[in-house]
């Protein structure tokens, strides 16, 4: 218990800047999103017609919205699953009390400083059908013509690879740190009892590692759904067709290109529900641990 100062007004004064900003730019706009989602707003923004739940029923019926959901879910599954499994595999195989952990940490953490848009540009070049190294290699070794400008599947694959590459080092570091904090006696005892490496991993390490895995699962899911707008906007712009039209990108198109404010607000409510569920899970199961964003 910390000593308290007796002042009555001072704490409010100290809190007020934060509270004003949160109310003005977070709480009110979110409530306003709810409100707007019940209206059709003219494209000049000067007329609002109350239409009840029509924006939401339209969402259910809209094939382009269904497409955005499918594309986003496919993208997220790829980013989260490939990201977590590859990094867990690397961390497990490398798990040793080796020297130079801090050096590796530096060499792995730096893509954290890159934006998704930058990751997108770098991989757009690596996978370019004309000059990209990856597409060359695919052509030579697999006789596969990779072209994210024309093929829907290739485009989704390209943005997914770019997005998971950026998170790979971050995931490896957290898994390594998690593995190194496991009780060594337990693993040693299991080893003496004749449990092989494979069995030791699945029966002991993996269950004990679940807080780390869960934390990374939430972080990567939030990343895949909410932080990749720049990656899409600077490379595929949702194309070809609507192959990479993720939920955030569709919201931007409907709200700021199509100027369909009410419809975009309804979409943001759906996103709000998704983030809330993920964050509540985070706080409930992982505690109030602070995380790198």
């Amino acid at each position: 218990m910390q000593t308290r100062f007796p002042n009555k007004a001072l704490p409010y004064l100290l809190l007020s800047p934060s509270v004003i900003i949160v109310i003005l730019f977070f709480v009110l706009p979110s409530l306003n999103s709810f409100y707007l989602s019940f209206f059709r707003v003219s494209s000049l923004g000067n007329k609002r017609i109350f239409i009840g739940l029509q924006n939401f029923t339209r969402l259910i019926a809209d094939p382009t919205y269904r497409n955005a959901i499918i594309v986003s879910v496919k993208f997220a599954i790829f980013v989260v699953l490939s990201g977590l499994s590859v990094s867990l595999a690397v961390a497990v195989v490398a798990n040793q009390r080796f020297r130079g952990f801090s050096l590796y940490r530096t060499l792995l953490i730096w893509p954290y400083a890159l934006s998704p848009a930058i990751a997108g540009l770098i991989w757009a070049q690596m996978m370019d059908p004309n000059i990209g190294l990856v597409s060359h290699l695919l052509k030579i070794f697999l006789h596969f013509r990779f072209n994210y400008y024309t093929s829907s599947r290739d485009a989704l694959g390209f943005i997914a690879v770019a997005a998971s590459w950026k998170m790979l080092g971050y995931n490896i570091i957290f898994f390594l740190a998690g593995l190194q904090s496991l009780p060594a006696e337990l693993l040693e005892a299991a080893s003496i009892d004749g449990a092989g490496a494979w069995r030791r991993f699945w029966r002991i390490s993996f269950p004990l590692l679940s807080p780390t895995t869960f934390f990374l699962f939430i972080m990567n899911t939030l990343y895949a759904f909410f932080q990749v707008f720049g990656l899409i906007h600077i490379t595929t712009e949702g194309g070809p067709g609507r192959a990479t039209d993720l939920l955030v990108y569709k919201l931007y198109r409907d709200g700021f290109i199509g100027l369909n404010t009410g419809y975009a607000s309804a979409q943001s409510i759906v996103l709000l529900v998704m983030v809330s569920v993920l964050t509540i899970m985070q706080f409930r199961y992982a505690g109030s641990r602070v995380f790198y964003r």
Partner: protein
């Protein structure tokens, strides 16, 4: 593979290379390092290759098979990208935005955390939850009405619109609150006995103790802000306020084939400032976070 290196307990056999001991102390660590080095190289390769393209001319990178050696035109490519999208101005704008948001968040979350830990007041849990709620409301979720609000405030294409909505920080409040709970109460008691007011105590004792966490928060928020895309695209896509992420898009938007050498040159330049911040402040992040996790 999962064996932990431990001190050799039994006397070593006469032959120097007892197989078990060798596996434990030589092969396993070598193998681990090999895995880590491969991982590091795989992660680093795209960046290195981006640099190679940034030094070449189209004639060089359209060659087949591709050349893995740097070309001759790095300076020319950077200069072209620099002039074409006014990179200097973009970097200046972005630095200003990222710096002011990082500093603003530090100030606001230090004062808020101080209020939560060192005072008793009505509505404390309510205000705490209110600030935590920002975690649940990332930019895309409230973008439409926030844009309208910024518009009605007349903040479109201004630095106010780019920075002020970001000043509140749940991460920061949590981070500092956790730290302040671990400060020995005797310090505050001593300050009170000496007749120091809370603000004096904040400034002369608490703030200096917060240095590591401030550096950690600065690192997180500077990078977070440097990499913002959606908000600056909608709020401030004008020559005077455009940030570098959004500006790079102009290098890609061409009718003909993309000039990858210019794009990669611009990309590298746009990455340098956050990378420097990361490398310089990395240690504080680890110290600040581990302190936080100890509880």
């Amino acid at each position: 593979m999962n064996m932990q290196p431990s001190l050799p307990t039994a006397p070593q056999s006469q032959t120097n290379w007892n197989w078990n001991s060798m596996r434990k102390h030589v092969l396993a660590p070598v193998f681990s390092h090999a895995v880590m080095i491969v991982a590091v190289l795989v992660i680093m390769f795209p960046m290195i290759y981006a640099f190679i393209i940034a030094t070449q001319t189209p004639a060089q990178y359209y060659q087949f098979p591709p050349r893995f050696l740097p070309g001759s035109h790095f300076v020319e490519n950077v200069r072209f990208a620099w002039e074409r999208i006014h990179l200097g101005r973009l970097l200046l704008n972005t630095s200003f935005v990222a710096l002011s948001v990082a500093l603003g968040k530090i100030v606001l979350s230090v004062t808020a955390a101080f209020a939560f830990v060192y005072f008793e007041f009505r509505g404390k849990p309510f205000f705490f939850v209110l600030i935590l709620i920002t975690h649940m409301l990332p930019v895309p979720v409230r973008i439409v009405p926030t844009f309208e609000l910024i518009n009605s405030l007349g903040w479109i294409n201004t630095y106010k619109g780019l920075t002020i909505p970001f000043f509140a920080s749940a991460t920061g409040v949590l981070l500092f609150r956790q730290l302040y709970r671990t400060i020995p109460p005797s310090l505050a008691d001593a300050a009170r006995i000496d007749g120091a007011g809370p603000l004096q105590f904040l400034w002369s004792i608490v703030v200096p103790l917060s240095r590591t966490n401030m550096a950690a928060l600065f690192l997180i928020e500077f990078i977070y802000m440097w990499n913002q895309y959606l908000w600056p695209l909608i709020i401030a896509n004008a020559d005077t306020t455009r940030v570098v992420q959004v500006g790079l898009k102009q290098l890609v938007d061409t009718d003909a084939a993309v000039d990858w050498h210019f794009v990669m040159a611009g990309t590298l330049i746009a990455t340098i400032p956050p990378l420097i911040v990361l490398v310089v402040l990395q240690r504080s992040l680890i110290e600040g976070m581990s302190l936080y996790e100890e509880k």
